[in-house]
Structure formats: structure tokens, C-alpha cells
């Protein structure tokens, strides 16, 4: 830093050129350590018990439903010819998409040096893992005989049969399992220094041993930080194309087929934008209550929320563009079947799903053009709940409306979910929230060391610490 000609700014001018701080009320290192660690150390608040028991019960509902399915057969779900993929694959794509915001925040915003990511990346990454767990359940059980699911793994068997690597479904197995594994590695790498903080604060023997093991003996030395930061950069660098690839590969499940409504080259970017859109909505769905309940207003500020709303507005508009473009191409292609598939989507028996999708995904987020709406938590919560529902409807519309009108009118159908469909999906929502509640209770939900590093006093050239000019 060249300090040859120091420009002194003060008063109103300083306030104008300075960026809005990401940590409010001048909170320091100690406050951050205490405030975040104490969430995991003091006894759990009453609401936590209520919420955990309730969502735990819903998790048991999912367990019961999957058990019933295994015991009876996949026919307990409502899918049948011609609709062989219905709620199960809708739910799979829905949950996978949710995960994308976590990786976007942790990887892409890291590479683009967006400092505001530090307050939200840990919980968003945790959300990613839990969403992918929920997602993986559906295709695993949809195979019917779930105990045969290991056939997806390329391991030598006495049968001498190998996987079909030409199939997008197998690509998807690799994409989703890689995504989950890499997300775990990335998340855990980011956790190590904070686990060391909990280790050093531990009062009970159990906590000392547990955090002692998982902190790996981290001692914050610069010779360690040097390798650590490089490793984190590499992980962010590979996670960036990974997150873009996962939903692209998921979209290949559809786009590589020759079904009108699925056979579309716009799918990969359209799916990725939709995934980020839906994922940010879910991040806000979880973080707004967490922020209020744990008093995190100084760390997750109005600016953080504002930024996330803007990303929702941007990606929501991209999704809206994609919906329009699909229609245009259906008309412009001159393909009768393609045209029918799309007109049928908007005006056929599933018109209600299509227009729910349009109003939730395209119209609702337009409120975020207005600063007042991006500042009103109730408006934000209403919009993100719309987006959560809208993104589920999007997958339902794509999957079910394309299948329910087969090429021969004799094979037309209408899908109705069974009670097992409904209870299974509800159960996975319970599982998702349940895992998140366990996470916020036992692990630091905000990356303490990264937030400390963006405080003004963490800059070695910070004025208050008596620095005289630069260093050699």
C-alpha cells in the first residue's frame, strides 16, 4: 500500500465513500467468538425443542413411508403409465436445486471476493448437504428394489455386467454423488478453524474430546493458514464449475431424451439459474427465523438480505426469460408436437400448475425491484415462500405435463398423487428442517474466523492500531 499521499477523509465525505459495514455496532473478535459459540454451548431454547420434536416426528413419517414403500412396492406412489416420473423426480430435482445456493455462496462468491458471503456461507453450505440428502432418497427408492441400488456403482460383480455410461441417468449418479462428497469436504475444511475455537472453549470432557478430534489439532499458525487458504481457493475453484455442472447434468436427464417439452437445449442454463433462484429463497427461508431467534442482526445485516433479494430478482428474471424462450422456440421450431406440449402446459388439464409456477416464480420476485420491499422482512418472507412453492411447481410442470400426453391419445393420462406421495414429501421437508436444527444447535452456524477476517481491525493497516505508514 503506497502511503505517499494520504488523503484524509472525514465527516460527511467519509460516510459517503465508505461502504456499509458488514458487521454492525463495531462488534469485535471476542464478541463474535462468544456470540456464535454460545449458541452451541448454552442449553437449547424451548422453541428449539418444540421445533426439533415436531420435525423429528415428520422425519419418522418419511421413514414410515419409505418402509411402507419397500414392503409393498413402488406402486404405492401414484405414478403409472404414461406418467412414470411424477412427485418423486419432482422432489428430487426440487431438493437438488435448493442445494445450489449454498455452493454458489461458498464458492462463486468467494472467487468474486464478495465479503458479505462470510456471514451466511456456513449455514447455506449445511443447507446444501441436507437438501442433497433429501434429494438422494427419491431416486434411490424410485428404483423399486432399493436394496439393488448399489448396481449404480461401477464395481465388478460376478454377473459381469457394467453400467451404461451412455445414459444421462448414470451421469446423474456421478454428478450428485460427487456434488455431495465435494460439498462435505468443502464444508468440513471451512469448519476446522471454528471447531478449534469450540475445542479451546470446551468445558466438558465430551466436548473437549469431540472437538479435539474434529479440529485435527488446528493451531492457527501462519504456516498452516498458508496451505489452508490455498486449499480453500482450489476447493472453491473446482466447486464453481461443479455447481454449474450438477444441475446441467440433472437437466440432461430430460434434455437428452426425445420427448416434446423435455428435448430442449436451453435446459442446462435454465435449470442452473432456477436452482440458484430456488436455493436463495430457501436460504432466506431458514436464515430469517434463525437471525431473529438467535439475535444475529449484527452479522446478518439488512445489506446481506438486500443482496440476496437482488440475486433472487436476477435469477427469477432469467427463469422468466427461459419460460418465454421455451414457448418461442416451440412455435418457431414448427414442430407440431413441441407446440402442442407447450400450449397444453398453459391451457391443458395442468393449467393450474403452470400458472402457479408463473405467478410464484416470475411475478412475485418483481417486488424486489423496490427497495422498500427488500427491506420489509414480511414481504421478503412472503416472496421467498412463493418462490419455494413456484420452483416445486416448475419441476412438476416440466416432468408431469410432458409425460401425461403421450404420442398416442390412447396413452393419455392424468397424475394424481397418493397419500403416500404427499406424506413422503412432507416427511422429507421435516427431515431437512430437522437436520438444520441439529446443525445450528451443535456447530457454529456462522463462520467465525472469516467474519473476524473482514472486520476493519483485521486489516494490518487499520488506522486505530497505531500503524505508521506501510511496512517493508
Amino acid at each position: 500500500m503506497a502511503n505517499g499521499s494520504t488523503i484524509d477523509i472525514s465527516g460527511a465525505a467519509a460516510r459517503m465513500v465508505q461502504r456499509r459495514p458488514l458487521v454492525l455496532h463495531g462488534r469485535g473478535y471476542r464478541w463474535i467468538t462468544d456470540h456464535i459459540s454460545e449458541i452451541t454451548e448454552r442449553s437449547a431454547p424451548k422453541w428449539w425443542w418444540v421445533a426439533t420434536i415436531f420435525t423429528g416426528a415428520l422425519t419418522l413419517l418419511a421413514v414410515a413411508m419409505f418402509t411402507y414403500l419397500v414392503a409393498t412396492g413402488v406402486g404405492v406412489w401414484g405414478l403409472n403409465q404414461p406418467i412414470g416420473w411424477a412427485w418423486d423426480i419432482t422432489n428430487f430435482v426440487f431438493w437438488i436445486g435448493i442445494g445450489h445456493a449454498g455452493t454458489l455462496i461458498s464458492a462463486i462468491l468467494f472467487l468474486t471476493r464478495q465479503k458479505w458471503r462470510t456471514s451466511i456461507n456456513r449455514s447455506a453450505e449445511a443447507m446444501t448437504l441436507f437438501a442433497v440428502i433429501c434429494a438422494g432418497l427419491f431416486p434411490a427408492f424410485h428404483v423399486g428394489r432399493v436394496w439393488m441400488v448399489w448396481f449404480l456403482a461401477p464395481v465388478p460383480t460376478p454377473l459381469g455386467i457394467w453400467q451404461n455410461f451412455r445414459s444421462p441417468l448414470l451421469w446423474d449418479v456421478f454428478a450428485v454423488s460427487t456434488y455431495f462428497t465435494v460439498s462435505v469436504i468443502f464444508w468440513y475444511t471451512g469448519l476446522v478453524p471454528d471447531l478449534a475455537t469450540l475445542r479451546d472453549r470446551a468445558k466438558t470432557r465430551l466436548r473437549k474430546v469431540f472437538f479435539g478430534i474434529f479440529a485435527l489439532g488446528w493451531r492457527g499458525s501462519n504456516r498452516q493458514w498458508r496451505h489452508y487458504e490455498k486449499a480453500y481457493l482450489v476447493l472453491a475453484g473446482i466447486s464453481t464449475p461443479l455447481v454449474l455442472s450438477v444441475h446441467s447434468v440433472v437437466s440432461f436427464d430430460f434434455a437428452v431424451s426425445i420427448l416434446p417439452g423435455w428435448h430442449t437445449t436451453i435446459f442446462p442454463p435454465y435449470f442452473v439459474a432456477g436452482a440458484i433462484f430456488g436455493g436463495f429463497a430457501m436460504v432466506l427461508t431458514l436464515l430469517l427465523p434463525a437471525r431473529a431467534l438467535f439475535g444475529l442482526h449484527d452479522l446478518i445485516t439488512a445489506k446481506h438480505i438486500d443482496n440476496m433479494c437482488k440475486i433472487i430478482l436476477l435469477t427469477g428474471s432469467i427463469v422468466g426469460y427461459a419460460y418465454t424462450m421455451e414457448f418461442f422456440i416451440a412455435w418457431y421450431s414448427g414442430n407440431e408436437f413441441e407446440k402442442f406440449a407447450f400450449i397444453n402446459r398453459a391451457t391443458g388439464p395442468y393449467w393450474w400448475a403452470y400458472w402457479s409456477m408463473i405467478s410464484c416464480n416470475v411475478i412475485a420476485p418483481q417486488l424486489f425491484w423496490f427497495k422498500r420491499c427488500r427491506r420489509n422482512l414480511w414481504v421478503i418472507y412472503a416472496v421467498v415462500m412463493c418462490v419455494n412453492a413456484g420452483m416445486w411447481f416448475e419441476r412438476f410442470v416440466i416432468i408431469v405435463t410432458s409425460l401425461h400426453r403421450d404420442f398416442l391419445p390412447s396413452s393419455w393420462g392424468y397424475f394424481k398423487p397418493t397419500w403416500v406421495d404427499v406424506c413422503t414429501f412432507t416427511g422429507t421437508i421435516g427431515l431437512f428442517v430437522f437436520l438444520f436444527l441439529i446443525f445450528v444447535r451443535f456447530l457454529p452456524m456462522i463462520t467465525m474466523f472469516e467474519v473476524k477476517a473482514i472486520l476493519p481491525e483485521a486489516d494490518p493497516h487499520h488506522r486505530a492500531d497505531g500503524a505508521k505508514g506501510g511496512h517493508s
Binding site: P154, N164, I185, R219, R223, H461, H462
Partner: protein, 177 residues
């Protein structure tokens, strides 16, 4: 003092103070020493005279292994061991292999990066002499420390603590092995 001395440590009041102390320790010619902080400090590698981390080389090797593994897996199973005509597509082609080429490259890179970083940092290592220093507990909270090891050729139990005080260190202490 009955136990052997591991080194001498001092605490500094801020990230900036630690950075300037590190520059002085570097210029003094110490070889076996380190600074400890709750978060990585910008510019500290240069202040300590450290070069670029080589973890990325391990990552690259991991990525190359992943790509090769994916190629061998797909080519050998689809074209050699179990050739089966599906959809009239060739037994092997790079086009349909791309997604799995990419995924396994990323997967192996991630593992190589994590384990490479841990190996270069000599972790996991739950016990380390610096943990014997009571004040050091604050390194993961708000403490900034500089530790010179007794194994350093310039180390002396009388001189080094005085040097640490001169460069602005407080709570200077000898750390037991």
C-alpha cells in the same frame, strides 16, 4: 524449570502489530518460528518470507488421476469388458464421457486438496507443545502470537524473550516441551 523448553512465545495486540513483529523476526534471521492468529492475516506470508503454497500441485495431480480413472473406467467397461450396443451409439466416445470425466476429475481433486493440505500442515496432530502455554488458548478467539522454537540456531533462553519484548510482544513466556 525441569521440562525441556520448546520455544519462546509472545502475544501481540493486533493483526497489524503481529505483522510488523513478523517482519522483524524474519529480518533477525530466525528459521524455525511461526505466528498464530484467529484468522489468516493479509500479507503475512511475505512478512514471514514464505513463498507460495504448493498444495495446488497436489490438487493438479489428483485431478489428473481422476480424469485418467474416468477414462479407463468408461473405456474399459464399455468398449473392452462389456461392449453392448445401446441406442446405436459407439462403444466409446469422448462426447458422452464428458460429464463423468468432469465429475471424477473434480472428485479426485477435492480429495487430493483436502489430504494434501492436511499432509503439508502435518495434521491431524492433537498434541503440540504450544498448547502447553495457557495464554495460547486465545489463538482461536482474539489472540495474536509469535513463537520462536528452541530448535532455531539463533535461539537462546535469555536473548530471544528479550527480543520478543523489544519488537512489542507482551506476556512473553518460555513454552515447555
Amino acid at each position: 524449570m525441569s521440562a525441556r523448553v520448546y520455544g519462546a512465545g509472545a502475544e501481540f495486540e493486533s493483526a497489524g502489530a503481529l505483522l510488523r513483529a513478523a517482519e522483524k523476526a524474519r529480518d533477525r534471521g530466525f528459521k524455525k518460528w511461526d505466528v498464530h492468529s484467529p484468522f489468516p492475516i493479509h500479507g503475512m506470508d511475505a512478512a514471514m518470507g514464505l513463498g507460495n503454497s504448493r498444495v495446488s500441485a497436489i490438487s493438479l495431480a489428483g485431478g489428473a488421476t481422476g480424469l485418467l480413472t474416468a477414462f479407463l473406467l468408461i473405456w474399459w467397461t464399455s468398449a473392452v469388458e462389456y461392449p453392448l450396443i445401446t441406442h446405436g451409439k459407439p462403444y466409446f466416445a469422448w462426447q458422452f464421457s464428458m460429464p463423468i470425466f468432469f465429475e471424477l476429475t473434480v472428485l479426485f481433486t477435492a480429495f487430493a486438496t483436502l489430504f494434501g493440505m492436511l499432509a503439508m500442515n502435518l495434521l491431524p496432530r492433537p498434541h503440540h507443545p504450544v498448547f502447553n502455554w495457557e495464554r495460547f488458548r486465545r489463538v482461536t478467539d482474539d489472540g495474536f502470537f509469535l513463537v520462536v522454537e528452541a530448535a532455531d540456531p539463533l535461539f537462546s533462553t535469555s536473548e530471544t524473550p528479550r527480543f520478543l519484548e523489544e519488537i512489542g510482544g507482551r506476556h512473553v513466556a518460555l513454552i515447555e516441551e
